[in-house]
Structures are given as structure tokens and as C-alpha cells.
């Protein structure tokens, strides 16, 4: 199974879960609007995942990565 098919199957299952949510819109204790927003968790997970990957790999990693153990030299002195 290729990667595209895997992505497609996950997207389809996600879509099905949203449909299930549409059919049974039961929300206990909706304190904020997103608790009752249909499909919110799916969108949040997708965008949140993109955001985290971007911040992590795109911003933080280039700042903190070093070629080698920077402490080695100073400890040998």
C-alpha cells in the first residue's frame, strides 16, 4: 500500500467520523463553542499537527541543532 493510499484511507476514516458526529450530535457539557462544533477535533488535529511540525522542524530545530557535542572540548581542558 503506497503512502498516498494510506493518506487517503486516513482521510476517508476521518470523514466518516465527522459524518457519525453529524448523525449523533450529542455534546455533554459544551463549555465553549468548539466543544459542540462538528468536526472541530479533526480540523484542530490537522492544523495543529502542521503548526507543531512547522514550529518544531522549521523554527526550533535550526536554532538548537549543532554538528557535534559542543561541550566536549571545554570539558577536556
Amino acid at each position: 500500500m503506497g503512502q498516498k493510499n494510506v493518506i487517503l484511507s486516513f482521510a476517508i476514516v476521518g470523514f466518516l467520523s465527522i459524518i457519525v458526529e453529524v448523525i449523533f450530535p450529542i455534546h455533554y457539557h459544551p463549555y465553549y463553542w468548539w466543544h459542540a462544533f462538528i468536526g472541530f477535533d479533526y480540523i484542530f488535529g490537522l492544523l495543529g499537527g502542521f503548526l507543531l511540525i512547522f514550529i518544531s522542524k522549521g523554527i526550533l530545530f535550526p536554532i538548537v541543532k549543532r554538528k557535534k557535542d559542543i561541550y566536549e572540548r571545554s570539558e577536556e581542558e
Binding site: 482521510a11 466543544h35 518544531s56 522542524k57
Partner: protein
């Protein structure tokens, strides 16, 4: 008669290095079981104390709902982790493991500050030996750094406790209404152990360098005991909310690009403890219940994950994702058990992460912190991506990137992992087993339809996000900077320069002083020599020997011991 679990473990830990090999192996299994029974049989309200100086009572056993649940989970993990280490741990390691468990239970059961401090320091010392037990150069250095950080934290705690006790408050009480200087010292001391940013860097520095079973113990004890202390002493301190959220997110962000399996898991400890710290900051009864429940669940699934990672390291000799690959075909059992743990930490339904994380998220929205709820929810997306998906994709599937032989995994490792995985499942499927034992009454139902469906959605969506960027997520071997840079570079530099300046001043002053002294020495000579009454040319003056006039050191030691014994008996009786 009450069996005190920490004292049983302490006694066993002192005896165990001196007994023969066979008895040691039996004790390794039997003692944790005895402790498990002893801690299960503790009743709420039990208390024991012993008199100490200045009319202070040392309350070395005080059981309530909060301490019972912590002692119970600590004794469970002490059994599984000791079983895990059965086949290879040596004398010193076993003793350190026992003392480490004993001291963490001692902290949890302590009713006064002095007992807490004693066990707190013992915890730092015994866990340092678990790092050193790896016996290589990096572990040695990491152990020293680990010890120094905890020594610093312990001293802050000591300072705070010293002030508290001198004010006459020697019993442990909540200090969140009374934030004076002593409380702040105590808070920082505990925060170091709880790995709150930016005081966290000791954790990913030391844990991955420890032994295989050492890291299992460490992942469960130090930070969770600190969470216990926060729940006990600082419930509802607002700064902890944001401290927890920052831990939660930064831990996940680091874990997403870390390469070593145990480094990933170490950053995830920080992230998961972040949930608990934020919950302690929220301070409502539901939130504190959530913190305790999450600590309970976390100890189970994190020990399972560290056992899995340790077993992979044991079997292959590698723990970096850039070296591993195709493990599913080679050690499927270990891979499946690790995978269960990683689903549990991500909050998969019917595993225990789901039931405890949900309580904290609900507490955040009930206490009107919607932004906290969303940020903690966001961190759970990263948890799935980094511990579960990334590790699975790059080390369990695909092909091995380096060639290695697979060592046979001993049966005891499998048994302890299976026990832990079953417990993850039991507490995830029957959450009331845990909920009924939490410190506060609550009526919380995690398995509602909308909650399960939203968890399924978020897990599916995170998986999709990972698959979109699977090339970008590929791990790379790099060295990662963290806040330990502050005390490993600038602090070292400042210390060296300061000592150089001080030494230079001392030497120059000494030189000036020395020439001054030498210049006046002739005036203090034997006056008869000036008068040539004695012949100075032939007679060399006797060389000055300071030791000639001193008492021997033994006399000083004897006096010191006598004074100590005398004053001790004077104060005590």
C-alpha cells in the same frame, strides 16, 4: 502494627549488597511484593511519629487519600521495574534501585518537612548511582551534573524548610496562600525536581545516559514525587498553569526532532509532567484529581515505554532512530508492547492516558481557562506524532539502517512489560478503579460518545498531518542545545574567570605581603647576633617547624566527637 513500606524498602536496600547472589535475586522479587502488600494495606488517617530535638516530632508516616494513591503506584512500579532488571543488575545497582524507591515512598509518606528533606536528598543520591552504574565516561559526567543540579535544588528546599521550621511550622501544609520567601525557596526546589522550564535540562541530559533499568526507575520516580509535593504544598498557584503549558509544548517540540529513543521519551516526561503541573496550577478539586490520576497513568505507560526502549537498546545495542529500522520483523513482541505504551500516552480510548488526560482538559475548561485547554490539547497532537508515529515509522517499519545482531530478550523483561501493558489497559477500561481512590470526590465519566469520537478524530488527523510531512519529519543525527548550556558554558566561564581573578589578587597580595615581611625580618633577628656575641657564621639557626607546637589532629577529632555526643545527649534527653 503498621508496616511502613518505605522503611521496609530502606532496610532491604541497605542489606541487599551484602547478601549472596541467590538471596539477592530472591529479594529482588520478594521485597517489592511485600512492599506492595504493605502499601495496599495502609489505611487513611494512619500516622506515626517519633520525638526529635526542640520538641519537634518527626512524622515519618502519614496516610491520606493523596499519599495512599502515590505509594500504591510507586510500589507497583517498583515491582515491575525490579522484575525488569532481574537478569542483569549488579549489587550496587540493586541497592540504588531499592533505596531510590524507598526514598521516594518516604517523601510521599512524610508528614513533616525534616523527614521529607531527608528522603528527598536520599532520592537524589541513590538516583545518581543509577546513572553512574552505566560505567562509561559520558554517564560519569552526566551523573555529576545530575547530582549537582539536585544538590542545588535540595539546598534551596533546605533553605526554605529551615526558615519554615524556625518559624515553628514543621508539619507539611499547603503554602499556596502564604507565598513568602521560604515558600518561594521550597517552590523552586520542588520545581527543579518536577523539571519545570527552564530548570528541566538535567532530565534529558541524565536519563538517556543511565542504565536500561535505571532509566525505567528514574522516569517514574523523581518527577512524579515532585508532582505529589506540588499537589500537597502548592495547589492553585497561578504561575504553575503557564509553567505547565510551556513544559507541555516545548517538551513535545523537542521530542519531535530528537533522534535517540530515550531522549524522545525524556522530553515526553517533561511534556506529560506539564499536564500535571498545569492542573496543579488550576487548583480546583477536579484539576487536582486530574493531576493525581495523570501521574498514576503516566507512571504506568512511561515505565512501559522506557522498558520497551531499554529492551530495544538491550537487544540491538542501538537506540537512535537513524540506526534502527525494521524492528517489527525481528522483535515483534517488544514492538507491540511499546506501541501499546505509545498509544496510551497519546490518549487512545481504552488505555489509561485517555481517562486521566481527559480529566485535566475538562478541569481547564470548567475553571474558565479555554486557552490552557486548547494548548494542552494541541500538545497531545504532538505526543502522538513524536512518540508513536515517528518511532513506529522510522524504527519499527522499513529496513535496518545499520547491521546488528539481535540478542535474545530475557523472559523477565517480557513479563514485566506485559504486566504493565495489562495495567494500562485495565485502568483505561475501568477508570473507576482509579477514580474512586483519588483525593477528592468526583463524578466523571470519560467514555461519553462525543469524547470518544473527538479523540478518534484528533488521532486520525494527527496521523494525517504526520503522513503529509513524513519526509520533513525524518530524524537526523544532531546534537541538541538546551538550557543546560547556561550552566555548562557561561557559568563555567564566569566561575573560571572569577577564580582566576581571585587567585591573581591573592597571589599579588601575597607577594607584596611576603616582600614586606622579608624586609622587616632582619630587625627581629637575635640581637646577640648583631653584637657578634655568638658566631653567626658557624651556627645555622634551627629551622622553624610549625608542627612542633601543634596538637595532633587526633586530639581535635576526639574533642569534636565528645562535644557532639555531649550536646546530642543534652538535647535529646
Amino acid at each position: 502494627m503498621i508496616l511502613h513500606p518505605a522503611l521496609i524498602m530502606l532496610g532491604a536496600g541497605i542489606v541487599i549488597p551484602f547478601v549472596p547472589h541467590l538471596i539477592r535475586k530472591i529479594m529482588l522479587i520478594v521485597m517489592p511484593l511485600i512492599v506492595l502488600v504493605a502499601s495496599y494495606n495502609l489505611q487513611y488517617g494512619q500516622q506515626q511519629s517519633i520525638g526529635f530535638i526542640n520538641n519537634i516530632d518527626l512524622v515519618y508516616l502519614k496516610v491520606d487519600e493523596l499519599s495512599w494513591i502515590f505509594v500504591f503506584i510507586l510500589s507497583i512500579v517498583s515491582f515491575t521495574a525490579n522484575l525488569f532488571s532481574y537478569n542483569y543488575s549488579n549489587r550496587i545497582e540493586v541497592a540504588a534501585q531499592f533505596l531510590y524507591v524507598a526514598s521516594s515512598m518516604g517523601v510521599v509518606l512524610a508528614g513533616d518537612w525534616i523527614t521529607l528533606l531527608f528522603f528527598w536528598e536520599l532520592m537524589a543520591i541513590s538516583s545518581t548511582f543509577l546513572v553512574w552504574a552505566k560505567k562509561d565516561e559520558t554517564a560519569k559526567k552526566a551523573g555529576i551534573r545530575y547530582f549537582l543540579v539536585h544538590f542545588f535544588g535540595g539546598n534551596l528546599l533546605l533553605a526554605g524548610i529551615f526558615i519554615k521550621v524556625s518559624q515553628g511550622e514543621y508539619l507539611i501544609n499547603s503554602l499556596s496562600q502564604n507565598m513568602d520567601i521560604a515558600s518561594i525557596f521550597i517552590l523552586i526546589g520542588i520545581s527543579i525536581n518536577a523539571a519545570i522550564y527552564p530548570l528541566h535540562a538535567w532530565l534529558p541530559d541524565a536519563y538517556p545516559k543511565s542504565t536500561i533499568s535505571g532509566s525505567v526507575f528514574m522516569s517514574c520516580l523523581t518527577t512524579k514525587v515532585a508532582v505529589y509535593c506540588l499537589v500537597r504544598v502548592f495547589p492553585g498557584v497561578p504561575i504553575l498553569i503557564w509553567g505547565g503549558v510551556v513544559m507541555c509544548l516545548l517538551g513535545v517540540l523537542y521530542a519531535m526532532f530528537a533522534n535517540d529513543l530515550r531522549v524522545i521519551l525524556s522530553y515526553h516526561i517533561i511534556s506529560q509532567v506539564g499536564y500535571m503541573v498545569a492542573a496543579v496550577g488550576l487548583g480546583s478539586e477536579l484539576a487536582l484529581n486530574g493531576a493525581v490520576a495523570h501521574a498514576f497513568s503516566h507512571i504506568l505507560y512511561k515505565s512501559l515505554l522506557f522498558m520497551g526502549a531499554g529492551t530495544i537498546l538491550y537487544a540491538t545495542g542501538f537506540s537512535k532512530l537513524t540506526d534502527l529500522g525494521g524492528l517489527f520483523k525481528k522483535i515483534p513482541g517488544v514492538v507491540v508492547l511499546y506501541f501499546i505504551g505509545s498509544l496510551a500516552i497519546s490518549g487512545f480510548p481504552y488505555l489509561n492516558g485517555f481517562t486521566s488526560k481527559a480529566v485535566i482538559l475538562s478541569a481547564a475548561s470548567v475553571t474558565k481557562y479555554p486557552e490552557v485547554e486548547l494548548l494542552l490539547y494541541l500538545a497531545s497532537v504532538g505526543t502522538l506524532i513524536s512518540t508513536c508515529l515517528k518511532v513506529t515509522y522510522y524504527s519499527f517499519l522499513g529496513e535496518a539502517k545499520k547491521s546488528y545482531d539481535i540478542k535474545k530478550v530475557p523472559i523477565n523483561m517480557y513479563i514485566s512489560m506485559i504486566i504493565t501493558a495489562v495495567l494500562c489497559f485495565v485502568y483505561g477500561s475501568f477508570p473507576n478503579l482509579l477514580y474512586n481512590r483519588l483525593p477528592f470526590e468526583m463524578n466523571y465519566i470519560p467514555y461519553t460518545f462525543d469524547h470518544v469520537i473527538s479523540t478518534v478524530q484528533i488521532l486520525l488527523a494527527s496521523t494525517l498531518a504526520f503522513l503529509f510531512f513524513v519526509e520533513i519529519m525524518e530524524p537526523k543525527e544532531y546534537f541538541l542545545l538546551d538550557t543546560d548550556w547556561l550552566y555548562r558554558k557561561p557559568l563555567v566561564f564566569v566561575t573560571r574567570k572569577t577564580s582566576e581573578v581571585v587567585v591573581a589578587i591573592q597571589e599579588n597580595l601575597g607577594a607584596v605581603w611576603g616582600t614586606g615581611i622579608l624586609s622587616i625580618v632582619p630587625f627581629f633577628n637575635n640581637p646577640f647576633r648583631k653584637l657578634n656575641v655568638i658566631n653567626s657564621e658557624n651556627e645555622t639557626p634551627e629551622k622553624y617547624d610549625p608542627d612542633h607546637y601543634r596538637f595532633s589532629i587526633g586530639l581535635a577529632v576526639t574533642i569534636a566527637i565528645m562535644v557532639f555526643v555531649g550536646s546530642f545527649f543534652y538535647v535529646r534527653f
